[in-house]
Symmetry: D2
Subunit: 337 residues, 4 copies
């Protein structure tokens, strides 16, 4: 058993981490940090969870008792605490963006603030196990990917390693509203959100630099990506519809088989017919499909933004960090309905 | 006052036509045909409508008493009745696909059945008033466009008339479930539809030939279109996200202004910020927007698939056929919420 | 033509009033007041509406140019402006609660603030035309009813005028989220609202005193009412399921016919089979049904909380105030889907 | 390890059972029967589940290899196979209604067909562990309760054991659409279901005799129940709002504490504030609350109709039948969002 801390426990990713940790057979929830709800009993903050004895949330300055810390905080917060955690020998999985980009200048231009932990930024491993499994095993700091990058990269990274891969791609993403977080806004106010589809994130979404640099690190040809996300009135789930837009020399007819062989040994990636978001709810599963629209190749990638796009992937990374079976504490069976 | 018949009254488009006709100041609902519900009082078939005296639906072989007939039937049905209606001097607005394509061979390859009314097919006018207004005024047979073509053409037809317009486009469409009609299916069964986004219509959707040929008729350069529709869990509304994918010589920065000037005198087309489907519900309005996603131009087009994508557009066409003000009986004010 | 002002234009009821006024053939939108959006062009505040020339919202202290003022403001605001409006000869329809209760002490105990316009409170007429039509015709100040009271009273007021009517009733109400208004809250945050049904308003909802006192004014036996509202994940619409819980001497088997005869001449109330909220969207319609659940009578009442439960009813009242046909500017045909 | 069969695998309850069995540490899925999909590989029928090797569904006449059989079939089917299963020493948990009522005549009047297995009907134990745990432990045939009875009985059974308990109750239930099953209907067709709340099951729902007889078997005073279910546009979940309607001599102010003490040792029942259906999705949890609406006591009971109202409760019963810890293979942590 290892002890686990969650920082940023009152957000949706933080809550999902608590749910997963409570059921994990090797990790014990030892510390829960919430600056907005410090001192609240867990059972009060999360009536959906089984009571956790006397465990309460603590404030950001209280001592963290843990072997691993999961950070689920807004941009800029993780880099304040990571140095101290690493100094104390605590492994870190950061679900925020602070350590996802390869250098401080790209971070600054993307998130409009300077990076203050350039000591550890270079050693952070991008936590997409299907692409960077070995590096994760030996890391002490894992940058858990964003939800859209996870969905996109699992679909196109294998293709970009092929000669003649398309250089330009359009990603039209549809996201459930939990992806926008627990903060209130017009776009997530039910009377306004329920009857429409909202394009957002224009002119440039922060996930584009993350995707591009992750592909570069994975050894693929760096593509040009256009990314347009839309909020749809569901709660959990992302569907990315992905279009290569430059004529490849590679043959798209080979893509279904290429994806199938790439992922046949992966427990959490399934390749086949048209995916449904229902199947991904609460799980670490990603469903991929390569099809044709009148001769134009089109890829579909589906996952739960709070699952493989967030908290369950963080657990998968933690399993790798401790050398456990990668599926420990994670379900392989999604909802049918 | 002119007398109006609806054929195919029990489907969603038929029902919407009844709703509109009952409120139209110049059209009187005189005949309602439903093969599946023949003999039913209107008040029983549509409790949402004000009682229509003794008016009942009639069967397909009963006499049609009308100056204009609106056909809202499955593919292949309209071409059986149009010759007889035109012979009797009854104007026709067909909301189905039978008269939308310019020739019988394209119809056959698209709808997998021969066209049996090649006498009238050539004279049918494509009923998109913003593009073909003058032809509609003088027609006796109008082919009311499909919902996706209406949304797409209003966005891109003006651009395709410019020199240097992009030759290739990707249309990623999101449609409410009413677009799938009143027939039951897994994709519209609530427990399966509500939590997901369903891509459908692959490998080739029937609306692509309609769009391509309508652009040709409108005098624009015929583009290559990739079209991928998705069902989203809302009821009414279509949002098309449209990406030009070949580098234009035309300047996309001019597109917002081009759309604005094109449509400034149009009562039903509004150009501006990000559209919401809520605004279109039950109306003949189409909202357009030209934006940029990291330098890539992207267009949004939103309308109600049962409104401007169907029944209200049919009324707009009827107004033109009779020489009335084009907005007669149609609302210019959409819902805010 | 009469000139109409809307005070509180940025809320959902205010926006719906604008939509209705713009389409009303006898009322002209002359003044739009919004303290939160003063100075905004209407086209910017409400892109769903047709542009209103140079009309802009004005602040609360600017001069109101109107023959009638519709007030759609939070509790306590209307009583500040009503005296001045009435002094200037402007008719008032107040959609808020300030003038719905018969006396100041009940207002104070219900809304936890003193009533500051006891001069005009006694003359206010409760604006439910089906019950108080004649008084409304001669009023200068109409208190437009709450959405739940409208639904409930239309169902039970006719029954309570019968001898032997039940003295105790349970009203289990289901409301769309637009009923909670445009203000953000956890209960209307899409990720939390969409998958659940929220009971709220316990231990006592403010609409209970309104219902009880309106029945008393209508001449019925004052009943004891239990009222439990629930938010359901739809946008517009209220369904009240109403159970009499004391054994009546009156015969419930007569209720369907009693409701039918009561409302047969009413344009906006329809009595029959199980109602659907879809039919009521954007309309002034109320659908009633009296049925039996294992021998227990049960009533259903459905309307649009922003329609008959709010803005369309305000227009109906305005039509009465000016002596116009009661249906002027109001649709009699609801959506079928 | 024990071997488990599922009969009726293609319905929603059958699919949920498969999901649970695949993750259960003591039960091995050995036989899957589906008359409508015989011969289909599991991975094709349920892409949401991890591949099950060569396991395929079999037809109803193929041999069942199992220690326990879960029956998820329409009324009338279970009683055809139960005698054979019991003869072969296979334990049975029947999720359908065939063995829930105490005698054949009540079954016939409720389900309009004769009961054909009166040999085993008397020995069937009603599978609500919180009320009948000891009987279940020693049973070979368990009648898994209906979803509405589970929600209702957990709320009111403890109260009905008190002296002076109310004799009459109204249960106003709100159910997600998965409760209506995988069969298509107008009430679950998305365009018609999404914007409304549908009352159904009038004049008498089949769950009323089940509730009444279960209370009698549990030793409580048999109450008179009025039950009105409504479909709401969510997928999983039931909320019962429960009103006692006869004046009790018992003190309702004691009910919150009575519920709390009754269930304090129960792993799956939680008593407290207003429950959310989100917390119950996919789990065996039931959330109860006793509150007051203007002095009138009102109870809320929430669960997942496919979980505690169906498949997870069946697993709980199986755990009892085999003498395992009751929570084996069942999650204690619900979704927060």
């Amino acid at each position: 058993m290892a002890k686990a801390a969650v920082l940023g426990a009152s957000g949706y990713l933080g809550g999902e981490l608590l749910r997963l940790l409570i059921e994990h057979p090797q990790l014990e929830l030892s510390t829960v940090v919430s600056s907005s709800h410090a001192g609240t009993p867990i059972a009060e903050l999360y009536p959906n969870l089984p009571p956790q004895g006397t465990l309460r949330t603590q404030g950001p300055n209280d001592r963290i008792d843990a072997d691993i810390a999961f950070l689920a905080q807004p941009p800029g917060e993780a880099m304040k605490v990571v140095p101290g955690l690493i100094d104390r020998g605590i492994k870190v999985v950061d679900l925020g963006p602070d350590y996802r980009l390869p250098d401080a200048s790209l971070y600054q231009s993307t998130y409009r603030q300077p990076h203050t932990d350039t000591d550890h930024l270079p050693e952070a491993v991008y936590g997409l196990p299907e692409l960077f499994r070995e590096q994760i095993r030996h890391a002490r700091l894992v940058a858990n990917p964003g939800c859209f990058p996870t969905a996109t990269l699992l679909a196109i990274a294998p293709l970009l390693k092929q000669p003649g891969a398309p250089a330009h791609w359009i990603i039209d993403a549809k996201s459930g509203t939990s992806g926008a977080g627990s903060g209130f806004s017009t776009t997530t106010h039910h009377p306004e959100a329920a009857p429409t589809v909202w394009p957002y994130g224009l002119p440039v979404h922060r996930h584009v630099p993350e995707m591009t640099s992750a592909i570069a690190r994975a050894g693929g040809a760096t593509p040009s990506l256009v990314f347009v996300p839309h909020l749809v009135p569901i709660v959990r789930g992302i569907l990315c519809t992905i279009y290569p837009v430059s004529t490849p020399t590679a043959d798209p007819a080979a893509w279904p088989e290429l994806l199938r062989t790439t992922y046949e040994a992966e427990p959490f990636v399934r390749v086949g017919g048209t995916p449904r978001l229902t199947w991904t709810q609460g799980t670490n599963l990603c469903f991929l499909s390569a099809q044709s629209a009148g001769g134009q190749p089109v890829l579909f990638s589906a996952l739960d933004n709070l699952g493989k796009g967030g908290a369950t992937q963080a657990i998968q990374n933690a399993n790798l960090l401790f050398g456990w079976d990668e599926t420990t504490g994670l379900s392989l069976a999604g909802f049918g309905v």
